[in-house]
């Protein structure tokens, strides 16, 4: 088994942070070096509104990496964030398309910070344990 430390570029775990442009205010994701709206070299990781709506989802039954292949099926959502960008995120069970989620940044078992979409914060702890993600303090 080989495990991958994914270079997601996300900063510290916990509340959602994304790259915000200090010049025009655009929230940028996926990560980049210049603002995708005004092209300024003025991006900083800042806390942003973590709410979003699930646009679509999939349950992967096949993965190209061992660390997922061992844990299939694996749920991923496409989330339109209230602050603008579309983000893929690991999805808590029980959320349907058009359902509301909040995103947090949590580390997987190998230390990669990842976006996690939670539909039911009260019951998130058990799910995170099941998928071997490190739970943070809410």
């Amino acid at each position: 088994m080989s495990d991958v430390l994914f270079d997601t570029g996300l900063p510290a775990t916990g509340a959602l942070q994304l790259q915000v442009c200090e010049q025009c205010g655009e929230v940028n994701y996926p990560r980049r070096e210049l603002c995708g709206h005004c092209l300024a070299d003025a991006l900083s990781w800042r806390p942003v509104d973590d709410g979003g709506t699930v646009q679509s989802m999939t349950e992967l039954q096949h993965s190209l990496e061992d660390q997922y292949a061992e844990k299939l099926p694996w749920r991923v959502a496409s989330v339109l964030l209230d602050c603008g960008p579309v983000a893929f995120a690991h999805l808590q069970p029980g959320v349907a398309v058009n359902g509301r989620v909040s995103l947090r940044i949590l580390e997987d078992a190998h230390g990669s910070p990842m976006l996690v979409a939670l539909g039911d914060r009260a019951n998130a702890a058990q799910w995170l344990k099941d998928i071997d993600f490190r739970e943070d303090s809410p």
């Binding site: 996926p30 646009q55 190209l64």
Partner: protein
């Protein structure tokens, strides 16, 4: 906005498809060079007559287009490398046609080629783009299946399309592939039951929604009609062509590509409309993308592609709209960047009457669509060309 000028006087000749294999010990260079050799032989010209080359490959590294001129012993005055994935063929055609029209080259070889070996698809998916590497691949490492599962589910939720509608595309293409000997999956019949009962890959995608990566090469020569006639080569002409990159970036899920931005003007310039199209080649990395192309290119209303395919025979000899007449990638296999030339090369075969068992009767006009480059959550390149049978 200005409009693209005419492609009058341009001829597409000598369609070549070769070397399709599930795995290959050969390199992408071998595929490109082999297509070049076959193009020269098919045209009956000397290697020195080729003075332009447009090529596409995901697997050239550490080489690039320039290095291949020394490998192949060719001296060129025009050279392009087109990294547009599934839109590469149509875009190569557009660039090469302008070069020939403007005297920058006389005979341009347009070639897509890639190889495949164990693990090479994983390596490509794991390091495909900076956006994908940081924000798509880490989420389950499904490769392209993940974003296309998202698009497929969103399309189904939005329109009411069913799996059977996608199945109609896959099953029809398999029938076409059974009449195209080079199709890697052509020997395996595919019924709707087979399609629906296939194992799940990334819901709602199942096995026969996904292409099989493979090795292969595709190419054609582009030259003046005058020269094609002098060489005695049957040819196709270009009535109109266009492309867009990163169209509708505000759409949260890609339920349309860039085609609606130019389709109407494309038909205006071509002087024909969708009912005049005798065969349609879409880029079929997943069946839902075929529907986006049918909708975007005016064969039906937006969001109604699933109804269109329910009511239209898509086989090469069914009397409806022959679609992906050699089986498409879904039945031939996806040979990397060669897949971006597959529909174009097949259209040239059809329009020059040399398609073989899958020949569409009296094929006069073809629409070839390209789609490519899944940087993150959607394909960024959309392209299309309307081709016509040359007058010989």
């Amino acid at each position: 906005m200005s409009t693209p000028g005419s492609y009058q006087g341009i001829a597409l000749v000598t369609p070549v498809s070769l070397g399709y294999a599930r795995n290959s010990e050969h390199s992408a260079r071998w595929y490109i060079g082999s297509v070049l050799r076959e193009l020269i032989a098919a045209a009956g010209i000397d290697k020195g007559d080729i003075d332009g080359l447009a090529l596409s490959s995901f697997g050239l590294a550490p080489d690039s287009a320039s290095f291949l001129t020394q490998q192949f012993g060719i001296t060129l005055r025009w050279l392009e490398q087109l990294p547009f994935g599934g839109a590469s063929g149509v875009i190569a055609l557009r660039r090469a046609a302008r070069a020939v029209q403007n005297g920058d080259a006389d005979v341009v070889a347009c070639i897509g080629g890639d190889t495949a070996e164990q693990g090479s698809f994983r390596d490509l998916a794991a390091d495909f783009s900076s956006f994908s590497n940081s924000a798509a691949y880490p989420y389950g490492s499904g490769g392209p299946n993940m974003p296309f599962a998202m698009i497929t589910r969103a399309y189904m939720e939005e329109t009411g399309a069913s799996r059977e509608d996608f199945g109609h595309i896959a099953v029809s293409q398999r029938y076409n592939a059974q009449h195209y000997p080079a199709a890697l999956l052509g020997h395996k019949p595919l019924s709707m039951t087979d399609y629906l009962d296939a194992r799940p890959i990334a819901s709602p995608l199942h096995l026969f929604d996904c292409v099989m990566p493979c090795a292969g090469g595709e190419g054609f020569l582009l030259m003046s009609v005058e020269r094609a006639r002098a060489l005695g080569l049957p040819f196709a002409t270009v009535l109109a062509a266009d492309e867009r990159h990163n169209a509708y970036p505000e759409d949260p899920v890609q339920l349309r590509g860039g085609w609606p931005l130019f389709a109407e003007q494309l038909y205006d310039r071509a002087g024909i409309g969708p009912p005049d199209i005798d065969l349609l080649q879409t880029y079929d990395d997943y069946p839902v993308i075929c529907l986006l192309q049918m909708e975007g290119l005016g064969f039906c209303e937006p969001g109604r592609g699933f109804e269109f395919v329910r009511g239209t025979d898509l086989t090469f000899d069914g009397g409806g709209l022959p679609h992906n007449t050699s089986g498409g990638q879904l039945s031939i296999g996806q040979a990397g960047s060669a897949a971006g030339y597959l529909g174009l090369v097949e259209s040239i075969r059809q329009l020059t009457g040399c398609a073989g068992a899958n020949q569409v009767a009296d094929a006069r006009h073809a629409m070839v669509s390209g789609y490519g480059m899944i940087n993150y959550d959607r394909g960024l390149c959309s392209a299309a060309a309307v081709l016509a049978r040359g007058d010989g």
